[in-house]
């Protein structure tokens, strides 16, 4: 039964016994076990990534009223393998004038910045890499590494379009990092911990998506911006700058960017699930009932987590294939004039109400939190509506400058 309750620990203990049985020193055995654990986690993430290629291609096909890959294997399931073989055997080109070392490091760094996120991703209550007490800041730190990778790729390619794409991407990621950091404080306040696992455990009674739906929405928007996916894909706008920072990359070097992007989207789907939808748990207390104790088995929890992460990934894809690309000035204005103030209001509201309502019974706390979010959302929409009406009125009026110009001519 212990295998079903704590499989990773059991395997680690068994390996430790095996290795020390071979007369290895204790520290070396521990290091070896960690290396094996890390390798298994990365392999799991990358194999999942291969599956994501197929999911992405199938889903985009459905959104565009096509069938998608359906020739190789059942339902085109072997298509990603064919994709990978194609990428690996393609000619590997380094453009003349490129900064060779930086050019080659950039794709590796881009993929690394995603894979390091898996260290803190709790797949189940007993299956996780490490339980950092600064987990949420770690997400932001990994994002900073991703930004660096992109600007390295853009600069070292020695290509104007690549550099422009990288500049856009940096403007995008650095601006949207701010609402993301602010909104990450909302789950921190609600769970009173920054540990990702602690936040999951704190949602066993009530999802944070219900306590603070606005925070959930703002996190989704800034996560999509951080991913650089449509509608925030100005960095690779085909019609303007060809393909942005991965214009010069061929073969598997491009493959790393592509794989990294897909895995990043899935990982952020996972963080949506963890921060706002209860992660591997969060069945509103259902798992405490005798008939539902099987929900606490780590493998079931991991399946639940992956299902929730897939749902988040699907929402990100849904937005990607439905919303057109936005212009760079609109993107920046949307961030600085709308998202940042709104996230600050949500944060202050959560901090105050969390203190005021702490003495209330559970139903009062939940109603207060949810109600305040609805009020903020309603007021925001009203302000936006008034602003839009003002803009439309200003546009319908004839522009006075145009008339004076006509008279002078």
């Amino acid at each position: 039964m212990t295998f079903w309750n704590n499989p990773i620990n059991l395997i680690a203990n068994w390996l430790n016994g095996l290795l020390t049985g071979w007369h290895l020193p204790g520290t070396l055995a521990t290091i070896l076990i960690f290396v094996i654990g890390i390798t298994v986690l990365i392999v799991f993430a990358m194999v999942l990534d291969i599956g994501l290629v197929w999911v992405e291609r199938k889903v985009v096909a459905r959104f565009q009223d096509r069938l998608g890959p359906n020739r190789i294997g059942p339902f085109g399931l072997i298509q990603p393998v064919a994709d990978i073989i194609k990428m690996v055997i393609k000619e590997d080109i380094t453009p003349a004038g490129a900064d060779r070392i930086v050019y080659n490091i950039a794709p590796v760094l881009a993929a690394t910045s995603v894979i390091v996120l898996w260290a803190i991703l709790p797949l189940a209550s007993t299956i996780y890499g490490v339980d950092l007490n600064v987990g949420l800041l770690y997400i932001v730190a990994a994002g900073a590494m991703g930004t660096l990778a992109i600007i390295m790729a853009g600069w070292s390619s020695n290509n104007k379009y690549a550099l422009l794409g990288a500049f856009r991407m940096v403007a995008n990621m650095i601006s949207y990092e701010i609402p993301m950091v602010i909104i990450l404080l909302v789950p921190t306040i609600l769970a009173s911990t920054m540990s990702v696992r602690g936040i999951t455990e704190a949602q066993s009674g009530m999802w944070f998506a219900i306590l603070s739906p606005l925070a959930c929405l703002i996190f989704l928007i800034s996560a999509i911006a951080e991913l650089g996916r449509a509608p925030f894909d100005l960095s690779e706008a085909e019609s303007e700058i060809v393909a942005g920072f991965h214009i010069e990359y061929t073969g598997m070097k491009f493959g790393w960017f592509y794989a990294g992007e897909l895995l990043h989207a899935f990982t952020f789907g996972g963080f949506m699930a963890i921060l706002f939808f209860g992660g591997y748990g969060g069945f509103f207390g259902l798992e405490k009932l005798a008939t539902f104790t099987w929900l606490n088995i780590p493998f079931v929890q991991a399946l639940v987590f992956i299902a929730k992460a897939m749902l988040g990934y699907w929402v990100i894809m849904w937005i990607k294939y439905s919303v057109p690309r936005i212009r760079i000035d609109h993107m920046l204005a949307f961030n600085w004039k709308f998202l940042v103030p709104l996230s600050l209001v949500v944060l202050i509201n959560t901090a105050i109400l969390n203190k005021v309502l702490s003495g209330m019974p559970d139903w009062g706390y939940v109603t207060g939190m949810f109600g305040s979010n609805i009020v903020i959302g309603f007021v925001t929409i009203e302000i936006l509506r008034a602003y839009g009406r003002k803009k439309r009125k200003a546009e319908t009026k004839p522009a006075p400058q145009a008339q004076t110009q006509e008279q002078t001519v």
Partner: protein, 170 residues
């Protein structure tokens, strides 16, 4: 030699080498990248000292800011993105000497602090260092005043930057 010492030595050498390369490499952008390597090494040192929060903040603040620095470098070097100029002037030895003097002073200062040379004490398992740091920053008998003063300074800088940016439009 313990594992921590080995990690410390490797990271220390990496930090020193990359810090030296920051000032000697001919390409400005490579200097920015070596700076990233040096600052990342410092983050590793923080992590080995169990200062998780500092380590992560080091990465967020410095490596996140390097991207901005990168853009400034590109903008300031104008047309030649692959600029290859000499990074040193003929009187490079004066700042080098000053740097060594400051290093000597810092080493003397640090050696005078009691408790230097102690081995790292392992933190108790239940201690939440982030919580302790957070409550120290806002508790009146700890650091609330310096914390608030620093916040007001940053706010003033922000207001000043906005004012300077809008000067042209008037």
């Amino acid at each position: 030699m313990t594992g921590e010492q080995i990690i410390f030595l490797i990271t220390g050498v990496l930090i020193l080498v990359s810090a030296l390369l920051v000032v000697t490499t001919p390409k400005l952008l490579h200097a920015a990248l070596w700076l990233v390597a040096a600052l990342f090494g410092v983050a590793v040192l923080y992590a080995t000292l169990q200062a998780n929060f500092l380590a992560v903040v080091q990465v967020v603040v410095y490596i996140g800011a390097i991207a901005i620095l990168f853009i400034f470098v590109v903008m300031l070097t104008r047309r030649e993105l692959m600029e290859k100029g000499r990074q040193t002037r003929s009187n490079w030895w004066i700042p080098a000497l000053l740097g060594l003097l400051i290093l000597a002073g810092l080493v003397l200062l640090i050696l005078s602090i009691p408790g230097v040379g102690r081995t790292v004490t392992v933190l108790p398992a239940g201690l939440d260092s982030v919580f302790a740091l957070g409550s120290a920053l806002v508790s009146p008998d700890a650091y609330v005043l310096p914390f608030e003063v620093a916040s007001i300074l940053l706010l003033a800088a922000l207001v000043g930057a906005v004012y300077v940016a809008t000067l042209d439009k008037k």
